[in-house]
C-alpha cells in the first residue's frame, strides 16, 4: 500500500488537464441517492456496541480526536491548556491515551508546539493548523499560500485547508484543483517531513451528496492526504451520511489507485455515542484499514470529555459528572 503522493496523482493527468475534461469526469461519477444513503447511514447507527467492543471504540476514538480551538479569542494561555489536555486527557487515569492532534490557527502553532514538544513528524500529539483564509476561503491565492507557509514554518505537522466553495459551486473545478495542488506544494519542507494536507469541503455549503462525492475525487486526485467535512463554523457540519459518502470515495480511490486517503468529520460530533456510530461506519463502509488515527480523525472539542466520561463509566461502573473532568 503506497503512502499518499506529494504531488497530484499522475494517473489522472488526462482528467485534470482542462476546464472541460475535469467536469466531465466528476459529473460522470455514479450519483448518490439521498434517501438510500441516509437510510444506510441510519441503519448503521442502530448497531449496538457494548462491553469489549465499546471499550475498544472509546479508546480508539480518543486517539483519533483532533482537539480543536479556532476562536477569535484564542490566546497563548488557552492554547497551552488545550495542548496539555491533549497529552493527558484524563489526569486521574494515566492509562488514557493521548489524542491525535491539537488543531489551532496558524499563529498559535508555535505556542502549541512549545507545550507539546518534539518536532514535526515524530509520533506524539501532532500540531494541525488551519490555513488558506479559514473558514471562508475567500482571499487571493497568494494570501492563502502565505498563510499555509507560515504555519508550516512554525512547525505544523498537518495543514487543514478549505476549498474555494464559490469556485466549486460555480463549476470552476480546475481552479479548485489547482489551489489544492499549490497548497500541497506549500506543505513541502526542505528539511524534515512534509506537512500532511487535509482538504475541507464545507459540506454544509456543498449541500448535495453528489457534490460531496465530486469534491472528494477532486481533492484526492489533487494529492490530499485527508478529506475533511467541515470547518465547524457552518451548520450543518459533519453528519453520518456525508461522512459515509466520503468513506465510500476513499475506499473506491484505493481500489482504483492503491492510495489510501484519510477522512475527518468535524463539527457537531458531541457525544461518545455519535463517535462510536462513526467508527461503526468506518468499519463497515471503508473497512478496518481505516480504523487508525492515521486514516480517520474526529474534529471536535466537547466530544473528548464525553468520551472520557463513558470510558470512566466502563471502568468504574458508575455514571460520572462534569466536575471530574477538566475543561482544558
Amino acid at each position: 500500500m503506497s503512502s499518499s503522493p506529494t504531488i497530484a496523482d499522475p494517473g489522472f493527468d488526462d482528467v485534470t488537464r482542462s476546464e472541460a475534461s475535469l467536469p466531465r469526469f466528476l459529473h460522470g461519477l455514479p450519483g448518490v441517492d439521498q434517501v438510500g444513503a441516509e437510510a444506510r447511514a441510519a441503519g448503521l447507527g442502530t448497531r449496538s456496541i457494548k462491553t469489549t467492543a465499546k471499550a475498544y471504540a472509546l479508546d480508539l476514538a480518543i486517539r483519533m480526536v483532533d482537539l480543536t480551538t479556532l476562536e477569535g479569542q484564542d490566546t497563548p494561555g488557552k492554547v497551552r491548556a488545550l495542548a496539555a489536555k491533549a497529552m493527558r486527557p484524563d489526569p486521574a487515569d494515566p492509562s488514557c491515551p493521548p489524542v491525535a492532534a491539537v488543531c489551532v490557527y496558524a499563529d498559535m502553532v508555535a505556542t502549541a508546539r512549545e507545550t507539546l514538544g518534539g518536532s514535526p513528524g515524530d509520533s506524539r500529539v501532532h500540531v494541525a493548523a488551519v490555513a488558506t483564509a479559514f473558514p471562508s476561503g475567500r482571499a487571493a491565492l497568494d494570501i492563502k499560500l502565505a498563510d499555509t507557509r507560515d504555519a508550516v514554518e512554525a512547525g505544523a505537522d498537518e495543514i487543514d485547508m478549505v476549498i474555494d466553495r464559490g469556485a466549486f459551486l460555480s463549476g470552476r473545478y480546475l481552479q479548485v484543483f489547482d489551489e489544492i495542488v499549490a497548497v500541497k506544494q506549500a506543505c513541502v519542507r526542505d528539511s524534515g517531513p512534509d506537512a500532511h494536507l487535509k482538504v475541507i469541503f464545507e459540506t454544509g455549503e456543498l449541500q448535495t451528496y453528489d457534490n460531496v462525492r465530486r469534491a472528494s475525487w477532486l481533492a484526492m486526485m489533487a494529492g490530499a492526504d485527508f478529506i475533511k467535512t467541515s470547518t465547524g463554523k457552518v451548520q450543518p457540519a459533519a453528519t453520518l451520511p456525508v461522512t459515509m459518502v466520503m468513506l465510500e470515495a476513499v475506499r473506491d480511490f484505493r481500489e482504483q489507485t492503491g492510495t489510501v486517503i484519510g477522512v475527518k468529520p468535524a463539527g457537531g460530533i458531541r457525544t461518545a455515542k455519535d463517535a462510536i456510530k462513526y467508527l461503526v461506519m468506518v468499519n463497515e463502509v471503508a473497512g478496518p484499514d481505516w480504523l487508525d488515527p492515521e486514516r480517520f480523525r474526529f474534529g471536535a472539542s466537547t466530544l473528548l470529555n464525553d468520551l472520557l466520561m463513558q470510558r470512566t463509566k466502563m471502568t468504574t461502573g458508575r455514571y460520572s459528572g462534569p466536575d471530574y473532568f477538566t475543561l482544558d
Binding site: 450519483g31 448518490v32 434517501v35 444506510r40 467492543a53
Partner: protein
C-alpha cells in the same frame, strides 16, 4: 480480514416476553381448547420448544365461523363506522405500547433479527391498524359508491414469513369495512397472533369479531372450504393459492390471493451504485429472503456487471448472521427444517445446472436452521434457480444489454409480484415501470411497505391488493 473492531454480543432481553407452556384457540373472545392434535412451536435459531399449540379440527373451525357470524350479525355490522374505528385505534395504540414485547416474541418464534422485527415489522403493524381505523367511518369517500357494505365473515390464512404483519394486513381492513374474521396463522409462527388475541381482549373488542384458530394445512383448508364464510384471503404459495381458487369456484365467496414471486431487480449502468448495492442486499437478504416480493433475480447491465458483483460481494461480507435476538444480527435463522431443505435442494440444482455459487463465509451454529447469504452468477433464464422461488437468501445473477432486453427477461416468468429498477434517469424509471408486469415497482429503492400503498401481484403472484384505498375493495360490496 478480521476487524480489530469486533462487535461484542448485544442481546435483547427475553424477559419482557412471557410464553405460556400451552395455548388454546381464541374463539368468541376467549381461549378455548382445540380438538385436533396439538403441535409444538420451536425457535428456529436454537430448536428449543417454545410452547404447545392447539390445533383446530373441523368442529373447532365451525365454532369459530359461527362465533364470527354471530358477532357480525348482532354487533359489528350494526356498529357505526366511527365506533368500529375507535376499536381499531385502541388496538393500534396497544400494539405501540407492547411493541418491544411483540418484536422479541416475533424474533424468537420466526427467527428473524430483532433489528427487523423492532424497526420494520412491529411499527408497520401498528401503522396498518392506525391507517385502516381511519377508513372505518369514511368508506363512502373511498370511490366504491356512497354506502359500501361489508361482506360478512372473512376466513384468512397467513404465512410464516411476516406473521404479525400479515395478520395486520388481513385483519385491519376487514374490520374497518365492518367484517368479522377467523384467521389461521402459520403452523410454525403462531405466537404473535396469540398475543394479538390478548391485545383484542385488552381493547375490549366485542367477542367473536376476531377469532384466531391455530392449526396446520388441514385447518386452513377447512376454514377456506367452510360454507359460512363470505370471503377468503390467503397469502402463501402459488400452489396452495391455485387450490383455493379451485375450491371457491362456483360459490359466492370473494377471494384475494397474495402468492409467490421471482422478482427482477434491474440495475442499469448509470445507477447510484452504492445505493443499488444496498438495494440488492436488502432485496434478497432482508428477512433471510423469506419474502414473496424479494428481488431474487439480479438483472445487471452487462457493462457494469463485474464491478457491481465485486462491490456486492464486499458488501455481503459485512452481513452478520447469528442469534436473532442479538441487536447486531442482520441475517437470522431459516424458519424451519423443511424450508432449509428446500433452499439447499434448489441451491444444489443451481450447482448442477452450471451456475457458479459464492457464499459469505460464516460459522454456522450447530443447532437451528441456517443458510449463509449466497449468490449464483452465470445464471440464465433457462436455469431453474432463475424460475423457481427459493424463498431463502439466495440471489441469482443474470445480465442484460438494453432496457428492452431487461424488460423481456424481467417479465419472462409466470410470476408478477414486484420488480426493482436502478438508474439515475427518471424517464427510464417510468418507462420500465410502465412495461414491467408487476404489481409493485420499486425505483432506486426496494422492499418499501406502507399501509397507504397497495401491494399485490400480476399473473400467478395472485390477485387483489392489500394496503391503501385499493385495499378496501376486497372487503366491501
Amino acid at each position: 480480514m478480521p476487524s480489530p473492531f469486533e462487535y461484542a454480543p448485544a442481546p435483547e432481553s427475553r424477559s419482557i416476553v412471557d410464553i405460556r407452556p400451552s395455548y388454546g384457540l381464541f374463539v368468541n373472545g376467549e381461549f378455548v381448547d382445540g380438538h385436533g392434535t396439538s403441535f409444538k412451536t420451536i425457535s428456529p435459531a436454537t430448536e428449543e420448544v417454545l410452547a404447545e399449540i392447539a390445533a383446530a379440527d373441523d368442529a373447532d373451525v365451525d365454532a369459530a365461523v359461527r362465533a364470527a357470524r354471530k358477532a357480525y350479525d348482532k354487533v359489528w355490522s350494526r356498529m357505526p363506522g366511527r365506533e368500529r374505528a375507535k376499536y381499531l385505534y385502541r388496538i393500534a395504540r396497544i400494539i405501540q405500547e407492547r411493541s418491544r414485547e411483540l418484536a422479541v416474541l416475533e424474533s424468537i418464534d420466526n427467527g428473524k433479527p430483532i433489528k427487523e422485527s423492532r424497526d420494520v415489522d412491529v411499527p408497520t403493524v401498528a401503522a396498518h391498524f392506525f391507517y385502516y381505523a381511519g377508513w372505518a367511518d369514511k368508506l363512502g369517500y373511498a370511490g366504491f359508491g356512497a354506502d359500501p357494505q361489508p361482506l360478512g365473515v372473512a376466513g384468512q390464512v397467513i404465512p410464516w414469513n411476516f406473521p404479525l404483519l400479515m395478520l395486520a394486513w388481513k385483519i385491519a381492513p376487514a374490520l374497518a369495512c365492518g367484517n368479522t374474521v377467523v384467521l389461521k396463522p402459520a403452523e410454525t409462527t403462531p405466537l404473535t397472533a396469540l398475543l394479538f388475541a390478548e391485545i383484542c381482549q385488552q381493547a375490549d373488542l366485542p367477542p367473536g369479531v376476531v377469532n384466531i384458530i391455530t392449526g396446520a394445512g388441514d385447518t386452513g383448508q377447512a376454514l377456506v372450504a367452510h360454507p359460512g364464510i363470505d370471503k377468503v384471503a390467503f397469502t402463501g404459495s402459488t400452489e396452495v393459492g391455485k387450490a383455493i381458487a379451485r375450491s371457491v369456484a362456483g360459490t359466492d365467496k370473494r377471494v384475494t390471493l397474495e402468492l409467490g414471486g421471482k422478482a427482477a431487480n434491474i440495475v442499469f449502468d448509470d445507477a447510484p451504485v452504492d445505493q443499488a448495492v444496498e438495494g440488492i442486499v436488502d432485496g434478497i437478504f432482508f428477512n433471510q429472503g423469506h419474502v414473496c416480493c424479494a428481488g431474487s433475480r439480479l438483472l445487471v447491465q452487462e457493462s457494469i456487471a463485474d464491478e457491481l458483483l465485486a462491490r456486492l460481494k464486499r458488501r455481503m461480507s459485512t452481513l452478520r448472521m447469528g442469534d436473532p435476538l442479538d441487536k447486531n444480527t442482520d441475517i437470522g435463522a431459516i424458519n424451519s427444517g423443511e424450508q432449509l431443505a428446500r433452499i439447499r435442494e434448489l441451491s444444489e440444482v443451481g450447482d448442477a445446472e452450471g451456475a457458479e455459487r459464492w457464499e459469505v463465509a460464516c460459522d454456522l451454529p450447530t443447532k437451528g436452521f441456517w443458510f449463509p447469504p449466497t449468490l449464483f452468477t452465470g445464471v440464465t433464464q433457462a436455469h431453474r434457480i432463475a424460475r423457481e422461488e427459493v424463498f431463502g437468501p439466495v440471489l441469482s445473477v443474470l445480465t442484460f444489454r438494453t432496457p428492452a432486453e431487461a424488460v423481456e427477461k424481467a417479465n419472462n416468468t409466470p410470476y408478477g409480484l414486484s420488480a426493482g429498477v436502478w438508474t439515475d434517469k427518471g424517464s427510464l424509471i417510468l418507462s420500465m415501470a410502465s412495461k414491467l408486469r408487476a404489481g409493485v415497482v420499486w425505483a432506486n429503492t426496494f422492499n418499501k411497505f406502507d399501509p397507504t400503498s397497495p401491494f399485490g401481484g400480476y399473473k400467478e403472484s395472485g390477485y387483489g391488493r392489500e394496503g391503501g384505498r385499493h385495499g378496501l375493495e376486497a372487503y366491501i360490496r
